[in-house]
């Protein structure tokens, strides 16, 4: 079914193993790198990325083309290329699926991005739960090095690039760029507010480019097929490229699907995922992980791309679609999400560190029949204030609560007035 849409990143995905270097080469792998190292100059790579309107796939949706441009020509060396494979956004597992399918696509993408900013050191920051992927990467990096696609004087050019895998100790905040850079330096991974920006003074005080796995994986294809081709992949005009959507929850066929940006939510659910489980009705979904707000049946046909979701005050995030049906209690769901943020808050700034446990307490009381009507304005104010936290963790964390109070206030009131959860009765 999904085959009707062009497959780029997962085209050669196999059920049980990765695409080997040989297979990857057959499919045209590393050609982009050869082309760049032999006949293309750095600026050209950067220009293509900008023209392709490639937006960061890690959640923030920042234009990759602009980011590479921000590394100053005369910036000091060594420069670092960090691949963010932390993927701890609840509901998200696209990087995992991809890494178990196309490690060389990532290696090539990283090398291209690194080349464009003259980075000599590459680091893949990976969460401990993905140990199998970490092993695969280390193995394939060695192979790539042996075949001359990595290491010193790649393809006899004057360009050297090494990649190492860095295993995290496991914390959600480590996915945030500045926290990740601290983590890599063996410092407590609290975020660090810019300036300076990582592309200016990042790892060990040197220019550092941080990109998500999926973002980097797109680069070889953009370099090879051009910006226009990439833009044409998307269904909506302002969007570009395909996206690895992770659909989980109350659908028949949860999983990771590569689909064009701009595809309708309804189509994802019905066509790709075989519709709702046991004929239940769609009640809501989170479009892009725990840090995004709920979409309701009103949004059922929304185009899934960065712009369209921004228009309805939401975010595409990581494209992790978590689907709820009419049996699910949205208060309980939001409580579960808030528990996550309370547990993972790094503890640096007050609103997040203390605010999430506070909000969790309020939601828990509502869910368990101890709530009061005054909780609702209280939570609204607190959520608003959590936006004034130190980093983007907290604003993401309150998204579900805020949208709960917008779209499901009746359900919340039902809990409060009924002194308990209507779904448990």
């Amino acid at each position: 079914m999904t085959a009707t849409y062009p497959q780029v990143l997962l085209k050669h995905r196999k059920p049980d193993r990765i695409t080997t270097l040989a297979e990857y080469r057959e499919a045209g792998g590393y050609e982009a790198l050869r082309q760049v190292l032999t006949e293309m100059d750095r600026q050209e790579v950067k220009t293509r990325l900008s023209d392709a309107l490639l937006l960061g796939r890690g959640g923030a949706g920042f234009p990759a083309g602009i980011k590479v441009q921000t590394v100053a020509e005369d910036a000091p060396f060594p420069r670092y290329m960090v691949c963010n494979a932390d993927e701890m956004e609840p509901g998200t597992f696209k990087d995992r699926v991809f890494l178990h399918a196309e490690p060389h696509m990532l290696i090539e993408g990283m090398t291209l991005a690194a080349y464009s900013i003259k980075a000599s050191h590459g680091i893949i920051f990976i969460r401990p739960e993905y140990e199998s992927a970490a092993r695969i990467l280390e193995r394939e990096i060695d192979i790539a090095r042996r075949e001359g696609w990595l290491g010193e004087r790649i393809l006899d050019s004057d360009y050297d690039f090494e990649i190492v895998v860095h295993r995290s100790g496991g914390r959600y905040i480590c996915g945030e760029v500045t926290a990740q850079i601290n983590a890599l330096q063996g410092i407590r991974p609290n975020p660090k507010q810019p300036p300076p920006y990582a592309t200016d003074k990042g790892l060990w005080g040197k220019p550092t480019l941080v990109n998500n796995v999926e973002t980097l994986a797109c680069i070889p294809h953009i370099v090879r097929n051009g910006a226009q081709w990439f833009k044409d992949l998307a269904l909506s005009p302002e969007a570009a490229g395909t996206k690895l959507f992770c659909i989980s929850g109350k659908v028949n066929k949860p999983g990771c699907y590569e689909l064009p940006l701009g595809i309708k939510l309804s189509e994802i659910i019905e066509t790709c995922c075989g519709g709702m489980k046991d004929g239940a009705t769609f009640k809501a979904c989170l479009p892009g992980g725990a840090s995004t707000g709920y979409l309701t049946p009103d949004h059922y046909h929304i185009a899934m791309d960065f712009e369209s979701l921004k228009k309805v005050g939401n975010r595409l995030g990581t494209g992790a679609v978590m689907v709820f049906d009419h049996h699910n209690c949205m208060v309980a769901a939001t409580l579960n999400l808030t528990e996550f943020f309370a547990r993972e808050s790094c503890g640096w700034c007050t609103p997040c560190r203390e605010g999430f446990p506070y909000l969790r307490d309020l939601l828990w009381r509502i869910e368990n029949g101890q709530g009061g009507a005054d909780f609702i304005p209280m939570m609204k104010t607190m959520c608003r204030h959590l936006w004034k936290s130190y980093c983007a963790f907290a604003p993401g964390g309150v998204a579900s609560i805020e949208s709960l109070l917008v779209y499901f206030e009746d359900e919340v009131m039902a809990h409060i007035e009924g002194k308990g959860c209507p779904f448990k009765k």
């Binding site: 790094c346 503890g347 609103p351 560190r353 009381r365 607190m382 130190y390």
Partner: protein
């Protein structure tokens, strides 16, 4: 100069000023927890939120994180900002134990103040409180983690500012914990500042625990007199007893902090054995009578043997007032003295340092932190002047570079170059440096290639702001002169070079202005021995502890006709002296001190004095005596006692003090009250070099080959006379030991851990041996520790022959 508007008031501030600081200049105190001027901004607590209504920044933002910029319009009273700050306070109070009634911070607690100011009066949160276990952090600092509001000040101060690595933050989220990996004594000798810097009661002053609320105390601006830096502090007294020291901000000297020697060194003032009554040969009498008796003795002695037979020695810890009156007395009556320094070398060292400290070179402790390159010669900052180490730490933090030329195993809380050279080669190296930078001077003898003089000279010469720091304890006048020459030579390459001396005591600078280098206590003892001095007046000069040859001293004192002692610390001599007058420590007398950079500073009296409850009982309530006079209030200011000895009628003592201060020294402002805080005009110090009857010092060079040099030195804790009497500090001081380079240990046939017995003119000192690979070979270092009877050597820098050392079996 950005111009901005805060709460409708306009202000210009230097570029780079944070909005929170700009507001402060307008007298608007924006709430803050994580922000501290010494630590800078990190934006963690979020309580400094204000609204930016116009200009480059918009919305509610943290005023500590944003630089003041042109056209900014800021409101601290904006409804959203106020409500946000209220919430921040509420969040911070979620887990706070509300134990203010039993919290020592209560009453001067920033959290308390901001909770009230923030309008968070009623608890809304119905969840449980998270609790923590506390740690035993040692005898100085009390830990109570449940009060913590996670401002991160302590970990940032401790690790970033002081450079120690045993206190920090652990855990995550709402469970972050500030403390050590395991309970134990804090390693930093600056740990006490945690108490001042913590905005609530997580770290409180342990010795003064539960003693009183801030408003119960008599509080006065005071000074630390436990080294020559003169750090400013606030002394708190209650029940006629000094209970606590806190750092007092002085931008020119100590900044926001003090060291633990200064913070906890006050116990001597209320020591149970502090002499509080006048005595004649051990029998208690009225102060007035004993004074009269002493005066009579003086007159008789003068009559029989002439004025020079009366000698006066004073102490470098005495106030300027005391030194001035004593100097005047000697001058008027032609008495011998005033002697302050212990030995000829020390007298010469101090005089040389003070004479060479030219105004264009002198820098302050605070200015040191701005230096780019620092060369430390013959000084051990952490042990001799602890806060200097903290200043140097800042130099290194700002990218500057510190090099230390010293034979000791110098340790500093940051990376620095250490040239562990034998004392006898220090001069040669400095000379070589001077030549390298084209300062001329005598050609330097060849020096070990281990030290890259050329590179160092280049760095210093190229540095936009080099500072030469020189000690005066272990060196000889020659090296001190050379250090000054070096600083001057650096000046020639037209840039600001600085010169900074450390001296041996709080008022040594003033003392050096009074005495001529030929009179030291040692010289006075000579004259006692040859019978030309028959009566000795020792003013707050603790001969027993400080004179480097106790046996010789005792013998000499026996030959005297009369011994007159004035002091506020106990000493066996007090009880045998013919006349003993109890004096007041600075907490009772107040006074002025001149620190090592020549800065004249005032210290107010904190309390009237009298028997403290330390003496009268269990610290619960002062004694219930009903009398018009305070029990134990006999001690008088030392300068008054001296005045009484010098003048028949002491009606107008004040007048006498005035003239004494006027005559004291042209450089010293007659009315210190006005001059206090300023560096005295060093121009007025006569540059005339010390000549008159300068004693010749034994040169190390002509020492036998197998000889080693012994240095008796200062340690952070346990050596400085007054602070060594503080029980709290006794608990953290290191046990005394003789330190040598491992090679020297084996060369001398000694053994690490085993004691060595050092013999000096038939006197013995037994002390355990410690190896220190960072030391220069051929050197032995022994602390002037209060637990050691080190006073057998006659000097604090002596040559020892192999035969004087004997290895002992443990």
């Amino acid at each position: 100069m950005p111009k901005l508007i805060i709460d409708n008031r306009e202000i210009d501030v230097p570029a780079g000023t944070k909005v929170i600081e700009a507001a402060e200049r307008l007298g608007i105190m924006i709430p803050r927890f994580c922000y501290h001027p010494a630590l800078g901004s990190v934006g963690a607590c979020r309580v400094c939120a204000v609204a930016f209504t116009e200009g480059p920044v918009k919305g509610v933002q943290m005023s500590c994180m944003i630089d003041a910029q042109d056209g900014m319009v800021v409101s601290t009273t904006d409804a959203e900002a106020v409500d946000f700050r209220r919430h921040v306070i509420e969040w911070l109070m979620l887990h706070h134990p509300h134990d203010c009634p039993v919290c020592d911070e209560g009453g001067h607690c920033l959290l308390q103040d901001l909770t009230v100011a923030g309008g968070h009066g009623l608890r809304r949160y119905r969840g449980l409180k998270r609790t923590h276990n506390n740690q035993d952090l040692g005898p100085l600092v009390q830990h109570e983690m449940n009060r913590c509001i996670q401002c991160y000040r302590c970990s940032r101060y401790y690790q970033e500012f002081t450079g120690y690595r045993d206190l920090g933050v652990m855990g995550i989220g709402s469970r972050v914990y500030f403390g050590r990996s395991a309970p134990g004594v804090l390693e930093s000798p600056f740990a006490g500042n945690l108490i001042d810097i913590c905005p609530t009661g997580v770290y409180t002053d342990r010795p003064s625990r539960y003693v009183g609320r801030r408003w119960d105390y008599q509080r006065q601006p005071s000074l630390c007199i436990h080294c020559s830096l003169g750090c400013n502090l606030t002394a708190s007294a209650r029940y006629r007893q000094v209970m606590r020291h806190e750092a007092r901000f002085n931008g020119k000297v100590n900044g926001h902090f003090i060291c633990d020697r200064g913070r906890y060194g006050y116990a001597y003032a209320s020591a149970v054995n502090r002499p509080r009554q006048a005595m004649a040969a051990g029998t208690i009498g009225a102060t007035a009578d004993i004074l009269a008796g002493a005066r009579e003795a003086i007159e008789q002695t003068v009559e029989r043997y002439g004025p020079v037979s009366v000698a006066v020695v004073a102490s470098p810890r005495s106030s300027l007032e005391t030194l001035a009156v004593a100097k005047q007395a000697c001058g008027r009556h032609g008495w011998t003295g005033l002697a302050v320094a212990g030995t000829a070398r020390q007298a010469l060292n101090q005089k040389t340092a003070v004479d060479r400290l030219r105004p264009e070179l002198a820098v302050s402790l605070a200015a040191d932190t701005k230096a780019h390159d620092v060369l430390v010669i013959g000084a051990d900052p952490l042990n001799e002047a602890p806060m200097l180490a903290l200043s140097l730490r800042q130099v290194q933090r700002h990218g500057g570079h510190v090099t230390v030329i010293d034979p000791r195993g110098v340790r500093l809380p940051f990376d620095f170059d250490h040239w562990a050279v034998h004392p006898s080669s220090v001069g040669a190296i400095v000379q070589a440096l001077i030549q390298e930078i084209g300062g001329g001077g005598a050609s330097a003898p060849a020096i070990s290639t281990a030290f890259d003089v050329r590179t160092l000279a280049r760095r210093l010469n190229a540095s936009p702001r080099p500072v030469v720091i020189c000690g005066t304890d272990i060196l000889t006048p020659r090296e001190i002169d050379l250090a000054a020459d070096l600083a001057q030579a650096l000046c020639r390459t037209h840039k600001v070079a600085g010169l900074f001396f450390t001296l041996n005591s709080a008022n040594t600078f003033a003392a050096a202005l009074t005495h001529d280098a030929s009179v030291s206590t040692e010289a006075v003892v000579d004259r006692i021995e040859d019978g030309s001095v028959r009566l000795l007046v020792a003013v707050e000069q603790d001969l027993w502890r400080d004179f480097p040859d106790r046996k010789r001293l005792q013998a000499a004192l026996k030959r005297l006709d009369h011994l007159v002692l004035l002091d506020f610390v106990d000493s066996p001599l007090n009880h045998t002296a013919d006349h003993f007058i109890p004096t007041q420590p600075l907490y009772e007398s107040g006074g002025h001190w001149i620190n090592q950079e020549g800065r004249l500073q005032a210290s107010s009296a904190v309390m009237a004095g009298g028997e403290p409850i330390e003496v009268t009982g269990t610290l619960d309530h002062p004694p219930r005596v009903f009398d018009t006079r305070i029990p134990g209030s006999e001690p008088i200011a030392a300068w008054q006692a001296v005045a009484a000895l010098s003048e028949e009628s002491v009606e107008n003592q004040m007048q006498l003090l005035k003239t004494a201060l006027v005559d004291f020294h042209p450089a010293v402002n007659p009315a210190p009250a006005e001059a206090a805080g300023q560096r005295i005009d060093l121009h007025a110090i006569s540059p005339a070099r010390v000549e008159s009857g300068v004693p010749t010092l034994p040169a190390d060079e002509d020492a036998p080959a197998d000889a080693i040099i012994l240095l008796l030195v200062d340690w952070t804790f346990g050596t400085e006379t007054l602070s060594a009497m503080a029980p709290a500090l006794n608990k953290v001081e290191e046990a005394p030991a003789a330190r040598l380079h491992p090679d020297t240990i084996s060369r001398l046939g000694l053994e690490e851990g085993r004691p060595v017995t050092v013999t000096m003119n038939a006197n013995r000192l037994k002390v355990p041996v410690q190896a220190d690979a960072r030391m220069a070979p051929g050197v032995m270092v022994i602390p002037r520790h209060h637990l050691l009877e080190w006073q057998i050597f006659g000097e604090t820098r002596v040559i020892l022959e192999r035969s004087q050392l004997k290895a002992e079996s443990a």
